[in-house]
């Protein structure tokens, strides 16, 4: 599964590079001059959201270097430090800015690492969902007929269910099938698989729609006339022309994927406590909410809320900026 998806990502990137390569400089110039940049700089919300999102990314991906402690280093964790409150409260420990969790892990470091896992799962599942959705949408739109009908009926059926339910069901079924395997290794892949299968429909529908428009244009007909195989027409000729809206869906779905991942982890079917994502941290903290140790749940919760809010705002702006009707 992973091999296939990697190869497909490579080919997607390769085609983008091929079409963009001859005039990289002028593409940059075009961007500096574009409506998008103009509208971005004029929108205060967009700039703030972009800076916020960027900061979260930096914090998450440099966690091993900037986090004050390593929550996975068992040698440095002491159970005696468990449930230390944040620094401004009584009985605090100056080593732990936001306090510690039930096992004595520094909460701030835990949040950085948790954000990292949340973002990695979010990105991977968005990419996987996009690959599935784009491929099926391309095939459905280009082939038409019975293939199209089957793919779109499946999409319709799936659209009647909320994504979280589908993710839960796939997760449960995967646990049944891979029950004997090591859960700590497979949780990550099961999670990405479940999220990808819950979110592919939107990409497929969008790409199918634009493909049906593109395939009747002259350049595609010309390519067909000179005998280029369908698969190459789809990947090299149509694909670069239908990927615009995909970017918007992907941004909005990143927020959705992060929320869904956090929810699954909170419900105990996502990331295991040994590799905690933000959702797992909140789930751990939830057990201590009643005994007064509120910080274990509330700080990761705030981090999650702010992260999602920023990505959402960015996605909203991108959707409006790329929508010609609103210009």
């Amino acid at each position: 599964m992973s091999d296939v998806s990697e190869k497909q990502t490579e080919s997607v990137i390769a085609t983008d590079r091929d079409t963009g390569a001859p005039d990289t400089m002028s593409a940059f110039g075009r961007f500096m001059d574009s409506d998008i940049l103009h509208s971005f700089l004029r929108s205060k919300v967009a700039v703030i959201a972009a800076i916020g999102t960027f900061m979260f990314f930096i914090l998450a991906f440099t966690a091993p270097w900037i986090a004050p402690h390593d929550p996975f280093d068992l040698a440095s964790i002491s159970i005696l430090d468990a449930r230390v409150p944040p620094i401004w409260m009584d009985y605090a420990d100056p080593r732990f800015l936001l306090g510690t969790d039930d096992q004595g892990r520094d909460l701030l470091s835990g949040i950085f690492y948790g954000m990292r896992i949340s973002l990695i799962v979010g990105f991977c599942s968005v990419i996987a969902a996009a690959i599935i959705g784009i491929s099926l949408g391309l095939v459905a739109g280009y082939m038409g007929g019975r293939v199209d009908a089957v793919i779109m009926r499946i999409a319709d059926v799936q659209l009647t269910f909320p994504a979280i339910l589908i993710a839960l069901l796939i997760d449960g079924a995967a646990r049944g099938i891979f029950g004997s395997l090591d859960r700590e290794v497979f949780s990550f892949w099961i999670l990405i698989f479940a999220l990808a299968l819950s979110f592919w429909v939107q990409y497929a529908r969008t790409v199918r729609g634009s493909t049906m428009v593109e395939k009747n244009k002259e350049y595609v007909q010309a390519a067909r006339v000179i005998g280029i195989p369908s698969i190459i027409i789809m990947v090299r000729h149509i694909l670069p022309n239908v990927t615009g809206p995909v970017l918007v869906i992907a941004t909005i779905n990143l927020a959705l994927a992060i929320v869904t991942e956090a929810t699954l982890s909170f419900l105990g079917v996502g990331m295991p406590p040994t590799q905690p994502s933000l959702g797992t941290l909140i789930a751990i903290g939830n057990d201590f909410l009643y005994s007064g140790e509120w910080w274990i749940a509330i700080f990761p919760g705030l981090a999650l809320a702010l992260l999602v809010l920023n990505v959402n705002l960015l996605g909203d702006w991108l959707r409006d900026a790329l929508n010609p009707k609103l210009r």
């Binding site: 319709d156 269910f161 069901l169 449960g172 049944g176 419900l267 079917v269 809320a305």
Partner: protein, 324 residues
Amino acid sequence: MLGFAMRRLVQAMIVMLVVALLAFTLFRFVGDPVNQMVGVETSLEQREALRESLGLNDPVPVQFWRFISNAAQFDFGTSYQFRQPVSDLFAKRIPATLELSFVSALFALIVGIPMGVYAGLNRESAVSKLFLSVSLVGISLPTFLIGILLIFVFSVNLQWLPSFGRGETVQIGGWWTTGFLTVSGLKALILPSITLGLYQMTLIMRLIRAEMLEVIRTDYIKFARARGLPDRLVHFRHALKNTLIPVITITGLQLGAIIAFATITETVFQWPGMGLMFLQAVQNVDIPIMSAYLLLTAFLFVSINFIVDILYFLIDPRLRVERA
């Protein structure tokens, strides 16, 4: 009209058939039913006999047919965890989920519609902007986080409301239990239904606001104003009424989402409904409960979609003319 309804009915049945096939695959091929029913010391011959008596050696289409006809009679097999018929387990928990979903939907409508009307009419006012910002936060916060925050504020700190369970319930008829008739039951409903309904509330508010902004600019509203009708009449009789069609569609579809998201809310509040049972089934790989839940929710969603389609048709006379 009849033709339209029939077409929709056929589509709905195809969807149900596909879902039933999925549920059957889950039921039959994920996790061996026999392995779950026997102990370690059961001999191979006994296993084989059990397999034969359960009909697991029959051809797959025969088994699928048996699965469908059993499901149509509410027979979903025996739960692996509880060793009880799945249908009994569901019957016990359905009232809790339905009451919670109903109250949440009511909350979303009663709070969301006035907020949306206000924000649509007073576009520039500070309160409208506040409503919009709050709704953005409501959409960004995951359901479970809202639940935790509410518990933290109202149960742990203020100690006003209970944080788990249904409170005292009263039995009505043979099997329905209700929390509507006791004080503790009503109190227990407040936090979970706000948690569950908040997202739908923000959605309805934004929808009504957007529709109001559009309707208020139309000629018939200007005309109504020119006739000197009081604002109240113009806003509610003429404007609001015309915004309701998309609201009904969305509310109907969201009703399904509410029942699905009840899984999360029920877990946060330990609410003894179907969702909590489904989640425990996922955690413990209790396949019969999972496939029954899949079938039940699918049936619910498909029926809601069907009813909404028909309602749409009845409410909007323009649709009728076009199709006829």
